[in-house]
Amino acid sequence: MSESPLVCPVGSGQMPKKLYAVAAEFGNPAELYHAAEQVRDKGYKWWDTYTPFYIHGLDKAMGLGKSWVGKFTLAGGLLGLTVGFLLETISSVYVYPMDTQGKPYFSLPGFVPIMDLLTILTSAIVSITGMTMLCMLPRLHHPLWDWDAFTRATHDKFFIVIEANDPRFSEKTTVDLLREIGGTNLTFIGDEE
């Protein structure tokens, strides 16, 4: 690994053995936003922005669709509702019918609170599970973490990273594009083999 480093600034003449992406740094949200619009318009798909905080409208500027998390929430809610209904009905009507104050075995109004609570509980669990899956988390390592400048992606810097997997990626034109849209500190990021 020592002969070819994982992180090589553009123009240093060195290249990582296995290229993961080329990254560029931006100074503020407005610059990043307009740069992202241009990367989107060039038709790149395998790329991402990195920001220390959520920037409203950046998902549109990146051309992302609506998040799928809501579908997980709905599925989780329906699951909890069904489980709650079956748990209460099966145990109160069939498994252990118990006459309390002459109430019917199948007392749906009385079952509502626990059905509601289980709906809430499972929809929360499934939403979070879905969100972490869609975010590809948890993750033990990522090629970008080899780049020291990237620690500021959670502090005060903004990044655009275009992956080498992208069909439109080329070491020349992608770097030129990132430079043209105002990126600084352009760097090739390598992946471990």
Binding site: G27, N28, P29, A30, L32, H34, A36, D48, T49, Y50, T51, P52, F53, Y54, I55, H56, G57, L58, D59, M62, L64, S67, W68, V69, T73, S91, S92, Y96, M98, T100, K103, S107, G110, F111, P113, I114, D116, L117, I120, L121, S123, A124, S127, I128, M131, T132, L134, C135, M136, L137, P138, R139, L140, H142, T151, R152, A153, T154, H155, D156
Partner: protein, 491 residues
């Protein structure tokens, strides 16, 4: 580390000024200018540095003293519970007429405090109250710790605690299942769901900040701790899009949950036929009462924290002001409901109901009722004055009254309703024993101990959320488009 290029050239809110206005509009325009969420024009970098410094700097001496005191007080709960479990619930002051007393009073008191945290983090998030981003982490932590304190009581008041697992719907050797029609079982589900979902909601809010801490801290154990906590968060655009959507979903879920929980807790009482409990008004009553007590506790927590950690630019006077306004609003609701309860007792025509309310004012527990009315309905009226709302330590002093008053409210509802039931021959009195007193006192130690640990290890303010409400976080802000800006431009 602060980067000057990120500092706005001028305060963003001056953009609403127009120079062609007649002079008499100038004051009106000044009134319309919204106060910034973060004062003194702080940059995103400063926000991160400053909040993280609370965790990264060595703990101040007062923190160690406070932790020792809180830990000592918390041990009282431990002693009380050990004595209770090894001896029996007879060590509490409950008796045959007052068969519910401090245990449920304390339970409702603590669970209520939790509700304000969810209110701030979820309901104010859904209604786009951006100022709440400065205090939502602190408020949610309060929720979690308050619900933990509340959870002690239902668990131990069942008597033989080692059978408490019968409350869970688990197939067991006796083939006994819980009675799903009982509000007390709903309560078990409500409190456990409330605790679980509050922790999840709080944790999801914490992920980006844990990543920020991972990238800041230098020592290996700290780095490892935050790296695991943040799950490998990178803050990519795709992650943020999913994350924000998830947060929105959770806010909706938590809103539903806080209403369900206060409904279920109030159903413990309102589904019974005890005069003083048997009323549909209990659901809004417990909801607003809970948020009232919670905002008071939040002010009690925030005022010292902002002072001692110098967070005045992040938890601004406006935040304290808003909390005081909510306190006042909830106090007015509570006062209205007190009045309405008496009206219903008078107008409903049930002699038992009437007597219960007469007993509250003229019976043996009259003092608790008067103190409650004074604390909850009279003292918070001071918050009509802006100068009071904007004086943090004065607000701190004032909210101590409703905090006591809200505990007394639950005591009045519970004990004064049951100590004299339908048969005068079985009337009695409830007096707390020393076990009651030390167990309850100790829960404050438990609460503050957990809170102090939270302040020490977790960023007390949501860094990424506060950053995203700064003017510089808006890519369309006027500061980035000086030449195209007309002055009174869009947000």
């Amino acid at each position: 580390m602060a980067d000057n290029s990120l500092l706005p050239a001028e305060p963003a809110h001056t953009s609403v000024e127009r120079h062609d206005d007649p002079p008499e509009y100038a004051q009106a325009r000044q009134e319309l200018i919204r106060e910034p969420y973060v004062t003194n024009n702080r940059s995103a970098a400063w926000v991160g540095d400053h909040i993280a410094s609370v965790v990264q700097n060595p703990a101040p001496l007062w923190w160690w003293i406070a932790v020792s005191v809180a830990g000592g007080v918390a041990s009282l709960t431990g002693i009380g519970l050990i004595y209770l479990i090894t001896t029996g619930v007879g060590v509490w002051g409950e008796n045959n007429s007052a068969n519910w007393a401090w245990d449920i009073t304390n339970f409702v008191f603590w669970i209520g405090i939790g509700h304000a945290g969810t209110m701030i983090a979820a309901i104010l998030y859904l209604t786009r109250q951006k100022w709440a981003s400065g205090i939502n982490r602190a408020a949610e932590a309060m929720t979690i710790f308050a619900v933990m304190c509340a959870g002690i009581y239902p668990a131990v008041h069942v008597g033989r605690v080692w059978f408490a697992w019968y409350l869970a719907p688990i197939p067991n050797a006796n083939a006994i299942w819980p009675n799903f029609r009982s509000p007390l079982l709903w309560d078990v589900f409500a409190v456990s769901t409330y605790l679980s979902v509050s922790i999840m909601f709080w944790y999801v809010g914490l992920i980006p900040d844990a990543a920020a801490m991972r990238d800041r801290v230098k020592n290996k154990i700290g780095k490892y701790f935050y790296a695991v906590l943040c799950l490998g968060w990178r803050g990519s655009g795709r992650q943020w899009a999913n994350y924000e959507f998830c947060y929105l979903m959770l806010a909706g879920i938590a809103t539903l949950l806080v209403i369900t929980t206060c409904t279920v807790v109030s159903s413990d009482f309102s589904t019974s036929v005890i005069p003083g409990w048997h009323g549909t008004i209990f659901i809004p009553y417990f909801g607003v009462g809970a948020i009232y007590g919670g905002f008071c506790m939040l002010i009690i927590l925030l005022v010292p924290i902002r002072q001692y950690y110098k967070l005045q630019d992040l938890v601004t006077l406006r935040h304290i002001d808003m909390c005081c306004r909510y306190t006042l609003l909830m106090g007015l609701f509570v006062a209205y409901i007190y009045g309405m309860e008496f009206f219903i007792a008078y107008y409903g025509g049930s002699p038992n109901e009437r007597y219960t309310f007469y007993d509250r004012i003229r019976g043996p527990y009259w003092l608790t009722w008067y103190v409650m009315m004074f604390c909850n309905c009279v003292v918070p009226q001071l918050f009509w004055m802006k100068s009071v709302r904007r004086n943090p330590w004065l607000a701190f002093g004032i909210v101590l009254f409703p905090s006591v008053g809200m505990w007394l409210e639950r005591f009045v509802i519970i004990v004064s309703s049951v100590h004299r039931d339908f048969l005068p021959s079985s009337w009695g009195m409830f007096y707390p024993t020393w076990i009651d007193i030390i167990t309850f006192t100790g829960t404050f130690g438990v609460f503050f101990l957990m809170y102090l640990l939270f302040v020490r290890f977790i960023p007390v303010i949501a860094i990424s959320e506060v950053r995203s409400v700064l003017p510089e976080a808006n890519p369309h802000a006027a500061m980035y488009h000086k030449e195209s800006s007309t002055g009174a431009s869009h947000e």
